[in-house]
């Protein structure tokens, strides 16, 4: 149990009605969208930067760790509190503060949901480019902390490319502005360092994001292939031909079948793989790309090339991609979503390896992923009630990460390291590399109170001790 003194101080900081300690609520806030559990000491809901600062000061005064939390949709355990930490939730900081259409930027509070911002600026012909599949529910603060991506980040870049300034409450309670509205703020790019810091460098309380112009013309195509290799080679060939489509997504057979049964979009359920390709821009360039992509697809054995004829058909094709997570519930009740990146040219080889691994562990896998940037998302589906299944899921997952690294890839493309992959970091980084990352964390938070025990394996950071939470897979 967290001490009454901490709770009293938090009540003084944000008001009694915005501090929660009931067992039900602590249970709700001890996990995110991963399979891991921690333990929350107390949950508070500040509404202003000053209140966040007061909460952080309380944490410091009682030498108690704190965890920033947005919507809790993270998949790597980043928002899972350990050791009865103070959970500082940003859901009540959800105002869009200002929109400057002429400068293409907006200031938002961290709890603003990703899609709400895009909806808000749509009448201005603008959008917020990072579009995670969870965009209806994830917060922009969470996007910043995880440097999140989405299908349309192939051409436009991930969150870091769309955040220009951050107001941050550091772990010692100082409020600091990182980056700025001007293009070349003085000194080190601390804004860049903060993006992707998974809540370990402080809490972002105001965020200045770049907005992007909506494209005048959009064409969405669906290509189907008899083998996964043909589909994957088409991806490389499109890029090698000098095109960067706005999105280049792949779904394999099992996934297409699940989605089709769910939304009835007329998807080719016999194909081994389908590619969803979207090209955006000005009409002539878009038309030329559609022709070239169709030709490249045909050269690589595409069966049919379906081009959405209107906005309704386009929306339907995207619905297929975006509801994949809902569709899988028809196959098995539980899923474990992985996230690694490999060089595009290695996609065929690594995908085949993924199928072999999953077969060896007697599991099912659906692949639905950002093929354009080599970002794999093997989705292992299972029934948690089956005895021993979690061990097989974890063993298969670990092997998938290993083959990705062996193919010249990286641990995570967009979900982050969190707790999930913390102890895999040495597969990619030497002790010296990890010490540099620990040094950066130390500069931001010398006492290590902001979301401790995440990202960096024990031994690489200044004083972090290894701690494996109950039920966690490390």
């Amino acid at each position: 149990m967290i001490s009454a003194a901490v709770v009293d101080d938090l009540c003084a900081a944000v008001g009694r009605d915005r501090v929660r300690t009931s067992a039900t609520e602590l249970n709700l806030y001890k996990r995110d969208a991963s399979t891991m559990d921690g333990s929350a000491g107390v949950v508070c809901f500040p509404t202003t930067t000053e209140e966040v600062r007061q909460c952080v000061l309380v944490a410091g005064r009682h030498a108690t760790p704190f965890v920033a939390r947005g919507s809790g949709t993270g998949l790597a355990g980043g928002a899972v509190p350990l050791d009865e930490a103070i959970v500082i939730t940003t859901t009540k900081m959800n105002r869009i503060l200002s929109v400057d259409a002429a400068s293409c930027l907006a200031w938002v509070e961290p709890g603003v949901l990703n899609l709400d911002l895009t909806k808000h600026v749509a009448p201005l012909g603008l959008h917020f480019a990072p579009d995670p599949s969870s965009q209806q529910s994830c917060s922009i603060g969470g996007n910043v902390a995880n440097n999140s991506g989405g299908p349309h980040c192939l051409a436009d870049g991930v969150t870091s490319a769309h955040v220009i300034a951050l107001e941050v409450v550091l772990a010692d309670g100082q409020v600091v502005m990182l980056g700025g509205e001007d293009p070349e703020p003085d000194g080190y790019d601390l804004r860049g360092a903060f993006v992707g810091s998974e809540g370990m460098f402080g809490i972002a309380t105001r965020i200045c994001v770049r907005l992007s112009q909506n494209a005048p013309d959009v064409r969405t195509m669906l290509l189907d292939f008899a083998t996964v290799e043909d589909g994957a080679e088409t991806v490389s060939a499109i890029i090698a031909a000098g095109m960067v489509p706005a999105a280049l997504e792949m779904m394999d057979k099992l996934c297409v079948q699940a989605v089709e049964a769910y939304i009835h979009a007329g998807l080719p359920t016999e194909a081994a793989a389908v590619l969803l390709v979207e090209v955006t821009g000005l009409p002539h360039g878009v038309a030329a790309d559609v022709v070239r992509i169709s030709a490249i697809g045909k050269q690589h054995g595409a069966g049919t090339v379906r081009i959405a004829q209107d906005e309704a058909e386009r929306a339907l094709l995207w619905k297929g991609r975006k509801t994949a997570f809902g569709a899988i519930a028809r196959i098995k009740p539980n899923y474990y979503l992985h996230d690694t990146v490999v060089p595009r040219r290695k996609l065929p080889e690594v995908l085949n390896e993924v199928y072999r691994i999953v077969e060896r562990h007697d599991l099912l896998v659906l692949n639905v992923f950002h093929a354009g940037d080599g970002n794999l998302h093997p989705l292992l589906v299972f029934d948690r009630r089956e005895p021993g299944v979690m061990d097989r899921v974890h063993a298969a997952g670990e092997e998938i990460v290993r083959v990705s690294i062996a193919a010249g890839g990286v641990l995570s493309g967009e979900h982050g390291i969190g707790l999930e992959k913390r102890d895999f970091m040495p597969w990619m980084f030497s002790p010296v590399d990890l010490a540099a990352q620990a040094a950066l964390r130390f500069a931001f938070d010398p006492d290590g109170l902001a979301n401790p025990h995440k990202v960096l394996p024990s031994g690489s950071s200044c004083g972090d001790i290894s701690h494996v939470p109950e039920g966690a897979w490390i």
Binding site: S160, Q174, V176, L178, H284, V341, K421, D433, L440
Partner: protein, 289 residues
């Protein structure tokens, strides 16, 4: 690329400086100077990545990339390491984005002579903290870049500079043109760079009343101002002397230096802590005494 020689050269505890081509301010005078290796390790057009020594000339790299239909968003001249360490964009930033987006992986040598890797080789990567972003623009004060993997982009089908009609407002152009690569404005005239399909460029030029020109104007002076995008509109009142502003970006090329900007002491303290954490003895690129 083997960095052991560079690391060995950086051993010891004396102050050190590094020089590329000396085009961007160069070394700290009076301090032992090292250089980074040069040469291209590989170019992978189908991955849109390139690996090279930090001492490689940007122009040589651009030529090699052009042969496979690719380009890199670094301003021309000098070395790759210098361009990254200084971190300043060229006049195409509106379309290309900032220099910091270019660096995917860096292997650098720190103040203790250790070879450190930051980032990763793939175009998308969130494994660990983003030390690469920190290195870009750090002017060699956190570590000396040895070998880098950069993001490349395909060369456009076509590329053309234009001058805007006398009455046209560059801020309106910024909103009405789709993804212009550059809009430069001197307070009276605007120049625009468009890239992409030739037929699209032509249609945009007609709609925006643009006339083709061979080149953009020369920069009016050596100074560089950094303003919020919206502040540019008041520039004619604010800035005495010739200027060339990058509309939509906020960089102003000017004949005189930018007036002093307010500083955030909390951010300065944090920067200092970063410097101390990375280079505790302060031997890397010390300020000139």
């Amino acid at each position: 690329m083997d960095l052991t020689a560079m690391a060995a050269e950086m051993g010891g505890d004396d102050p050190l400086t590094i020089e590329g081509a000396g085009t961007r301010g160069g070394r700290t005078p009076g301090v032992r100077c090292v250089t980074a290796p040069s040469g291209i390790d590989w170019i992978q057009a189908d991955e849109m990545t390139v690996c090279c020594g930090a001492g490689t000339a940007v122009d040589a790299l651009s030529m090699a990339l052009a042969e496979v239909g690719q380009r890199v968003a670094l301003p021309p001249g000098g070395t790759v390491g210098g361009a990254l360490a200084v971190g300043r964009s060229g006049i195409r930033r509106l379309g290309d984005g900032p220099v910091r987006e270019t660096l995917l992986q860096a292997r650098y040598v720190d103040g203790a002579g250790e070879i450190v890797k930051a980032g990763g080789p793939t175009v998308k990567n969130v494994s660990g903290f983003d030390v690469c972003r920190l290195l870009v623009g750090s002017t060699g004060t956190l570590g000396f870049l040895g070998e880098v993997i950069l993001r490349t982009k395909p060369l456009p089908a076509s590329s053309q500079w234009f001058v805007a009609a006398a009455a046209s407002d560059p801020f309106t152009l910024r909103r009405t043109l789709y993804h212009p690569v550059s809009i430069l404005w001197n307070g009276a005239t605007a120049w625009v760079l468009l890239e992409g399909d030739p037929a699209d460029i032509e249609e945009q030029a007609v709609a925006g009343e643009l006339t083709p020109v061979d080149d953009p104007p020369a920069l009016p002076g050596p100074h560089r101002w950094s303003l919020a995008v919206r502040e540019l509109q008041g520039l004619t009142k604010m800035a005495a002397g010739p200027f060339l502003a990058e509309v939509g970006v906020g960089i102003v090329h000017h004949s005189s230096p930018q007036p002093e900007r307010p500083r955030d002491p909390a951010a300065e303290e944090l920067r200092h802590r970063v410097k101390v954490a990375f280079d505790p003895s302060g031997r890397l690129n010390p300020a000139p005494s």
